[in-house]
């Protein structure tokens, strides 16, 4: 039977596991194990050798991220751990599932991560629109506090941790870890220059680790069952499981926990049931709004950071956004670029000015007022806002669906311009 450490114990009624219910599934045993017999270094080593990689989209090895934090005697304190629960990527809906259904899995993962990096204070950085997750987390935090799992001398050990919930006031850029740190400090969420990396100088100038919710939810199962077990869950060389999803005109949109390396076809055809009656598959964004389109010919690729990267896109959040043959690709890209233009923090010029310009060009094309030379201008923008040209990854991410749409759905752009109207709209 396939093992699903993140979702196996979720309740069918859709409510969150209480502390007692979580404990009945073996919850907090990893914390007991760590605090009663493992050094901080041992926990870190277990996660490193499990090959856990960041589930927020970038795929950076979690153990390596943690190992850059100064530890031991002479390390600066307080140190901070932050769970990034600012899930705002269009088309991403995986962290919400974990927050609403198994909040203690996150809390236990945070306790273990904080233990490993010797953090003193932890925050859950939650987006303000996540009202139901906020309710679930508040209840779980109260339960954990009452049970002595948060606070001083946790489970009678020397380990102490304060854990707070920060509710954000809403900006996509807060998902970028240095922007998130500015937001946590009560400032505008503009990204910071790196170096210094947050592990050296993060929140309030102290060593800080920011990890995605799903990443942290993997930590307790790894510590409990060991790195070898975790590595065996993935397919081929891949480690662990991943929450994959599909949305759009598919038969059964949803989220599924599957081995890392599962093929896109299995997610799309078996889990999501393929396209709805009367709709054909044009393409899909494999991992949220800031990833390049892929085509039906890519369905047999395994969902791994490398294989999706080699195909010219990114696995990102692992949540497919499916484009059907009755939806206008230009309209879809316009919707995405409107979002990115709105959410640019305004810090650097290419992004602040380039994204609204991109949006205007797409608005004109979609309205049937585009000019043939606009396509070359859009391609120039993809270069001007590509990797390395902007302060952070927001604008390069915004260019990914655009540059791939210009390549794969070129006919659609050209028809809009030639016919002076959107061909998908009823006359």
């Amino acid at each position: 039977m396939m093992e699903r450490p993140l979702t196996h114990h979720l309740k069918d009624d859709g409510t969150a596991l209480s502390l007692a219910e979580y404990r009945a599934t073996g919850g907090y045993e990893a914390l007991h194990k760590a605090l009663s017999g493992m050094a901080a270094e041992d926990v870190l080593e277990e996660v490193r050798s499990a090959n856990l990689r960041g589930r927020g989209g970038a795929g950076f090895p979690t153990g390596v991220k943690w190992s850059l934090v100064p530890r031991g005697e002479g390390a600066p304190h307080p140190k901070y751990l932050v769970a990034n629960a600012d899930e705002m990527e269009p088309g991403a809906f995986k962290d919400r599932l974990l927050l609403e259904r198994n909040p203690h899995l996150l809390l236990e993962g945070m306790l273990l991560a904080a233990y490993a990096i010797e953090a003193d204070v932890a925050y859950i950085f939650l987006r303000g629109e996540y009202v139901d997750p906020a309710r679930c987390l508040r209840k779980a935090l109260a339960e954990a506090r009452d049970a002595g799992l948060i606070g001083t001398h946790i489970l009678g050990s020397d380990f102490s941790l304060e854990l707070h919930l920060h509710i954000s006031a809403g900006r996509y850029i807060c998902g970028e870890e240095t922007a998130l740190i500015n937001a946590l400090e009560g400032k505008r969420a503009t990204p910071r220059a790196k170096p210094p990396f947050p592990q050296i100088s993060g929140a309030w100038g102290r060593p800080t680790v920011v990890n995605n919710v799903e990443t942290l939810c993997n930590v307790a199962p790894i510590v409990r069952h060991g790195a070898d077990w975790y590595r065996s869950l993935g397919l081929g060389d891949e480690s662990g499981t991943k929450l994959f999803g599909a949305s759009g005109r598919v038969r059964r949109p949803g989220i599924w926990e599957l081995p890392m390396g599962t093929s896109i076809r299995e997610i799309f055809e078996i889990c999501a049931g393929g396209m709805q009656e009367g709709y054909g598959l044009r393409g899909f964004l494999p991992g949220g709004g800031s990833t390049d389109f892929l085509l039906p010919q890519h369905l047999d690729l395994p969902m791994t950071y490398e294989s999706i990267g080699q195909a010219g896109s990114r696995m990102g959040t692992g949540t497919l956004i499916v484009l059907d043959d009755r939806t206008c690709p230009v309209g879809m890209v316009l919707n995405l670029e409107r979002f990115f233009a709105q959410e640019s923090c305004g810090w650097c010029t290419p992004c602040r000015d380039g994204l609204p310009w991109t949006r205007q060009l797409l608005e004109a094309i979609e309205a049937g007022q585009g000019r043939p030379e606009d396509l070359a201008t859009l391609e120039e923008h993809c270069g001007f806002m590509g990797p390395g040209k902007t302060f952070c990854a927001l604008a390069p991410g915004a260019m990914e669906p655009l540059q791939s749409a210009l390549k794969f759905f070129r006919d659609d752009f050209e028809r809009h311009i030639a016919e002076g109207r959107c061909p998908y709209r009823q006359a």
């Binding site: 088309g91 809906f93 919400r96 707070h164 999803g245 956004i321 879809m332 919707n335 979002f339």
Partner: protein, 171 residues
């Protein structure tokens, strides 16, 4: 306005309610520095008063002992801080990509017909304000929206109208 923007006026003591101040102090325990409370303070005052007026802004600046321009720069940065009055309930209609593909524009049109408001507008009776919102993370049940602090999904035009009428009767 100039006088209320001046520092150290004691304006916050006059303006902020005991409850607002107590809530800000509770949040203060979670952060190492008081100026870091800016977003929490804005959220707390907005929860009590519906939006953040210039007077509220000045009071927060005074209370946290930070510059009012600093608080303004933060307040205007975040999508969920309202610097203009809003209705008793804010409708946050998701218009991100999946909800767009699955018909959020028809919801918007229907809300317009029902309440006479488009994005950024408040109904004449002061009951509802309609705003777009970024992906609510419910793409497998699109389209989705928040009405006040209630999350709704699998919406269609009839259903959102029913929810709006029902939420009028709540409380």
């Amino acid at each position: 306005m100039a006088e209320v923007f001046a520092r150290d006026t004691g304006w916050s003591q006059v303006y902020l309610s005991d409850e607002e101040r107590a809530e800000i102090e509770r949040e203060a325990e979670c952060y190492p520095r008081r100026e870091g409370l800016c977003i929490e303070a804005l959220r707390i005052v907005q929860r009590h008063r519906g939006w953040v007026s210039d007077h509220s802004l000045a009071a927060i600046a005074d209370y946290l002992n930070v510059d009012a321009a600093e608080v303004e720069s933060v307040a205007t940065f975040y999508n969920l801080i309202y610097r203009r009055p809003v209705g008793r309930r804010v409708i946050l209609l998701c218009n991100s990509v999946t909800c767009w593909m699955l018909g959020c524009e028809t919801l918007r049109t229907r809300i317009q017909a029902e309440l006479g408001i488009d994005f950024g507008e408040t109904s004449a009776d002061g009951e509802f304000t309609l705003l777009p919102v970024t992906c609510l993370g419910d793409c497998d049940h699109a389209p989705a929206a928040l009405i006040g602090d209630r999350h709704h999904h699998d919406l269609d035009p009839d259903r959102i109208v029913a929810l709006l009428r029902q939420s009028r009767e709540d409380e």
